[in-house]
């Protein structure tokens, strides 16, 4: 059997511990094993690798099994200790070459150090994701913009009144009315903001497994094991299942075949020509994003309307997971399975998107099993300033939607509290 340098790095320490436990001199053990005392000294201090044959001879001399001397090649723990050391501040420099010694002599302390480093790493990751949330959460961004707008108006208007000078009565009345409206808006928005931030505590875990998977997808779906975004077991299981599905779909509709057909702007015609089900073509377009579909996004929901996958596209108003606009054509598709619905929708920002929505039905457990429905919506951004108009005005979610007269509104918007 061969040995790799370092693979027996702890064996030396174990040999030394065993020899000292037996109160035997280094020279005696070395002679009995057929090596020089100097060489044994190097082995015991882990400065020379030790092969299987020599381990067997030393084990016999030390009256212990070879397996016991060679077992527990804790390379991963040594790596973890070194990783922990690398993350320390620059002015703290532990003896990296002594990591194996530390692990062998004080396994409990080494485990504690590794656990502490891993916990610090997890907390750091959580801090980064929380920080990302504070800077990217559409609800928070919209709400804070509202607060700043109201504060700006209050400050400028109040200063006008406080500065003195002549103010015509009609202007004075208007400023008073503006102050009243803005202070109302400010108090409503502040209350909504506090309630929203409070919900962080009551939710316990801020991130759902679905959010973790979305973050992982947004990061380019790196290997599941290495992804810092996939913190929970549930998220890792979902990511693996997702990869498996993607692999199956890629095998059924290879990249080259899809790219070749993607010159057609109509996915229905494309599916027909490829002899593929439309829902698969839509999913593959959102993943591969071939020419003509570069900005494609995809939303998928189950029969209850719960979103199970969100591949965002730039400019399309997505709220926090668990929330949605009831006017998204995705939900209309649930009512008419197996029928593709094409729309041009307009976001509150004025951006327009072509959407294609389709619901499909499945009975994975056979005729005796339940009937499952799944809907998906392919989202394709239109060029800014392109002619034509939208046939549907949509939003992100009622609480952050500015469309006051929307017939689908289910709760007041914080943007309309003034």
């Amino acid at each position: 059997m061969t040995h790799r340098p370092g693979s027996r790095i702890l064996t030396g320490t174990r040999i030394r511990e065993r020899r000292l436990a037996l109160s035997r001199r280094q020279a005696d053990v070395a002679r009995a094993a057929g090596i020089s005392a100097a060489y044994l000294n190097l082995i015991e201090h882990n400065r020379r690798p030790v092969g299987d044959h020599l381990v067997t001879r030393l084990a016999a001399v030390l009256d212990v099994s070879a397996a016991e001397l060679a077992e527990g090649r804790e390379e991963s723990q040594i790596a973890a200790l070194r990783e922990a050391a690398v993350r320390l501040p620059d002015d703290v420099s532990p003896e990296l070459d002594q990591a194996p010694e530390l692990l062998a002599r004080f396994p409990g302390w080494a485990a504690a150090l590794i656990a502490a480093a891993r916990r610090a790493d997890a907390l750091e990751r959580q801090l980064v994701t929380l920080s990302d949330r504070m800077t990217q959460d559409p609800y928070l961004l919209t709400t804070l913009h509202e607060v700043l707008s109201a504060v700006t108006s209050v400050r400028s208007t109040a200063s006008i009144l406080a500065e003195g000078g002549e103010i015509p009565p009609d202007w004075r009345d208007r400023f008073h009315a503006n102050l009243d409206a803005d202070s109302l808006r400010l108090s409503g928005t502040a209350q909504a903001l506090v309630a929203y931030l409070d919900s962080f505590d009551t939710q316990g875990a801020i991130f759902t497994p679905q959010e973790e998977v979305e973050a992982w997808l947004a990061a380019g779906a790196p290997p599941v094991r290495d992804s810092a975004d996939l913190a929970s077991d549930a998220a890792r299981a979902m990511a693996r299942a997702h990869l498996l599905r993607m692999e199956e779909e890629r095998a059924a509709l290879p990249d080259a075949l899809l790219a070749e057909a993607s010159g057609d702007p109509d996915p229905l015609r494309m599916a027909d020509r490829l002899g593929q089900p439309l829902d698969r073509v839509m999913r593959r377009l959102a993943v591969l994003k071939p020419p003509g579909y570069e900005g494609a996004g995809l939303l998928v929901c189950d029969g209850s309307g719960a979103l199970t996958l969100r591949r965002p596209t730039a400019g399309f108003p997505l709220p926090r997971p668990g929330d949605a606009c009831p006017l998204w054509p995705l939900f209309q598709a649930l009512a008419t399975p197996q029928t593709a619905i094409a729309n041009v929708v307009e976001a509150p920002s004025g951006r327009r998107f072509r959407t294609l929505s389709l619901a499909t039905r499945h009975q994975p457990l056979g005729t005796d099993g339940p009937l499952l429905t799944r809907a998906q919506m392919l989202i394709l951004p239109e060029e800014r300033g392109s002619p034509g108009r939208a046939d549907l005005l949509i939003g992100p979610a009622c609480r952050i939607c500015p469309r006051a007269e929307c017939p689908a509104r289910r709760e007041p918007s914080i943007l309309l509290t003034a």
Binding site: H145, L148, S149, S153, R155, S156, S159, I160, F175, G350
Partner: protein, 118 residues
């Protein structure tokens, strides 16, 4: 000739700024939407544009980019003061002549406009 065209969708802020600057003797007009913003500038040819960054339908940065690319060189060079609610430090607006973060002090607004118009 119009001194200042302000494009701002928050009517209460627009009214306050219009009053502050009008009292200083400048002629001020308002436009309340990103849509038609560039057309309003072309029509009014103001000496200064005050432009909010976050506007419905068309953002202030898009309007600014279109203005700077206008075939009328003198119009393209119109001084632009951007108003942003995101803080000057977080937003790079290289095509703007000046940036004022909301909320702002009326004195700061007056001083900045005076400097840009003079």
């Amino acid at each position: 000739m119009l001194d200042i065209l302000m494009i701002e969708d928050e009517p209460n802020i627009a009214e306050a700024v219009q009053f502050i600057l009008t009292r200083e003797g400048w002629r001020v007009a308002l436009h309340g939407d990103g849509l038609g913003g560039i057309e309003a500038i072309r029509g009014a040819k103001p000496r200064l544009v005050i432009l909010d960054v976050m506007l419905p339908h068309r953002s202030g940065t898009e309007i600014l980019a279109e203005l700077r690319g206008d075939h009328d060189a003198s119009l393209a060079a119109t001084p632009v003061l951007m108003l942003t609610a995101r803080g000057q430090a977080t937003l790079a607006l290289p095509q703007a002549d000046a940036v004022l973060a909301k909320p702002f002090a009326n004195d700061d607004l007056r001083a900045m406009v005076r400097r840009m118009l003079n």
